[in-house]
């Protein structure tokens, strides 16, 4: 694959690869997690990365943002090698939500503001930056909670804060690691609507998903990982088939034909 052409203003031309990962190998400890993954996300595409727990999908996105070093292979963002990539304001990242809150209380606005730092000089927020932060908070429907402590929010609201933080820099590429995990239905719909607007505005999206759920209609392409290898790259599997995906061995706490509650008689 040749270097994608870069236009004079730094924007990649339409259809060019925004993320290009070739022959990626990575290990965690001594265990190989990625074993030669090729992944290309073109401009304007919405790509879902699917697979079972431990298939390497989180590792794949975390290596795209440079959090996990590759032992082999290469990654390019917007046509620039990851090592030399500096335009981080074009990338919005939503990490897998951790339940552990930070040690010191912080308001929604304070957390979302930290997403704007990539656009500021020396961390000083101008009026335009503040407006962008407020816009991002409004996008996820938390405008009335902006002054509340993040610790007082529900899981779904917390996830929306993390998405607002990623949107605060008005990124061209959104990378999300399990944005729907543990999120209630109402928040899922708000997230899907937010994402729809972003996609309509031309944002490229790479998401790690466990189940397609509410964002299924937005997805252009699905890449399925199994044991660190790509086993499917193409149109998203149909909704009924998602549990029959190759590599989907998600263990449910209950069998499908049994009642949820189990009494003493069982």
């Amino acid at each position: 694959m040749s270097e994608p052409a870069i236009a004079a203003d730094g924007e990649t031309a339409i259809g060019d690869a925004v993320i290009s990962m070739r022959g990626a190998r990575a290990t965690l400890g001594s265990r190989p997690v990625l074993r030669g993954v090729d992944l290309t996300v073109r401009r304007g595409e919405v790509v879902a990365l699917l697979g079972a727990n431990g298939s390497g999908k989180s590792t794949a996105v975390r290596s795209v943002i440079g959090q996990i070093p590759l032992t082999e292979g290469e990654i390019e963002l917007f046509g620039t090698g990851l090592r030399r990539f500096r335009q981080w304001s074009r990338v919005g990242y939503v990490p897998q939500r951790t339940t552990a809150a930070s040690g010191v209380p912080a308001t929604v606005r304070e957390v979302v503001s930290s997403g704007r730092l990539s656009r500021t000089r020396l961390g000083l927020l101008s009026r335009a930056d503040r407006a962008a932060v407020d816009r991002a908070i409004a996008l996820v429907g938390l405008a009335d909670r902006a002054k509340d402590s993040v610790g007082a929010l529900s899981g779904g609201q917390h996830q929306r804060v993390l998405i607002a933080r990623a949107l605060a820099s008005e990124p061209k590429l959104l990378i999300m690691d399990e944005p729907m995990a543990g999120v209630d239905l109402a928040s899922q719909e708000i997230l899907a609507a937010t994402l729809r607007d972003q996609v309509a505005a031309g944002t490229t999206v790479l998401l790690v998903l466990h189940e397609l759920g509410a964002i299924e209609p937005l997805i252009d392409r699905a890449v399925v990982l199994r044991d660190g290898c790509v086993v499917h790259d193409g149109p998203p599997p149909k909704a009924v088939g998602q549990h029959a995906l190759p590599g989907h061995d998600h263990v449910h706490p209950h069998a499908a034909d049994e009642p949820l509650r189990t009494g003493l008689l069982t």
Binding site: R86, P95, S102, T107, V111, P259
Partner: protein
């Protein structure tokens, strides 16, 4: 005021003020990163610096700064790169630092274990003019970093992975926090002492966050508490002849207990106020709207008792 007339008390109060500002200002980031005990580790390492200062007959504050910065950077590198047995490596550093301090001060001609104890627990009369200059310069650095770079340090302490994706120099900022914490230890050791430095970094922050909702308010309140307890503790120590470090720390813990007790009624008051504001906006008078009782009957009975039985 009689207390302000003696030169050594003037110096002691200025030093106490600077400690009250700087220790919580950097401590808040340590608490946010869940490294609340890092200050304690640096305090132990700094003892070697004090010992070295006596041995080489230089000002112990500068020597302690140098050694504790080296120690803090080592600790940060162990945290960042050390995969296994990081706690053992840290323990070596802590106790090695303490043992080194005791050994060096006894080897030196000028110092004795008695001198060391003034550094361990703080002593007012020992703050000299040259100490005050050193403390002032170091405190200026700490304030500059912890206030000037607050947004960056907040982002790094909140979520390191995300901070890296915003293009922040995460490794540099982590080291900067470690170095600043080390410098703060040197600032504070004259007044509160090396063994109690960490308390002043952590306790005011812990007290402030009992009643605050934002990082900004926590920061301001923690510094306020820090200044109040250091000044009050120093004054008490002057009149009652008790060690300043211990008095300051106990006062800080008293503030923590008081604010913790205050937290629940305050939260209740805030909730009531929010409800009143909402009700006012809706034009329905005061009081929270009750859950409508009819929703109860709308819940469909999806599960019959027989569902659970499985023979």
């Amino acid at each position: 005021m009689e207390i302000l007339e003696t030169a050594f008390m003037q110096r002691a109060l200025i030093a106490a003020l600077l400690v009250g500002i700087t220790a919580p200002a950097i401590g808040i980031y340590l608490v946010q990163r869940r490294q609340a005990l890092m200050g304690d580790g640096i305090g132990h390492v700094a003892m070697t610096g004090v010992g070295l200062g006596f041995l080489l007959s230089t000002n112990p504050i500068w020597m302690a700064t140098l050694v504790s910065v080296v120690g803090a950077v080592t600790m940060e590198l162990i945290r960042a790169y050390g995969r296994t047995r990081g706690d053992i490596a840290l323990a070596m550093l802590f106790y090695g630092g303490m043992a080194g301090g005791v050994l060096l001060i006894n080897v030196s001609d000028t110092g004795s274990t008695g001198d060391l104890s003034s550094f361990l627990f703080g002593s007012l009369s020992s703050v000299s003019d040259s100490d005050l200059i050193a403390i002032g310069a170091l405190a200026a650095f700490v304030v500059l970093v912890s206030v000037g770079l607050r947004r960056q340090l907040f982002a790094v302490s909140q979520d390191e992975e995300f901070a890296r994706v915003t293009g922040l120099p995460v490794r540099f900022l982590n080291l900067l926090i470690a170095v600043t914490a080390a410098v703060t230890v040197s600032v504070a050791m004259r007044v509160v002492g090396l063994l109690l430095v960490s308390a002043l970094m952590v306790v005011p922050v812990a007290a402030a966050q009992q009643i605050s909702r934002s990082f900004r308010a926590t920061f301001a309140l923690a510094v306020g508490i820090g200044v109040a307890v250091t000044l009050a503790g120093t004054t008490t120590s002057y009149y009652q002849d008790v060690p300043p470090g211990a008095t300051i720390v106990l006062l800080a813990i008293a503030v923590f207990i008081a604010l913790t007790a205050l937290a629940t009624p305050l939260a209740r008051l805030r909730a009531r106020r929010t409800e009143a504001a909402r009700a006012g906006a809706d034009g329905r008078g005061t009081g929270a709207p009750e859950c409508p009782s009819e929703t109860l009957s709308e819940v469909p009975r999806t599960r019959l008792p027989g569902d659970d039985v499985k023979v």
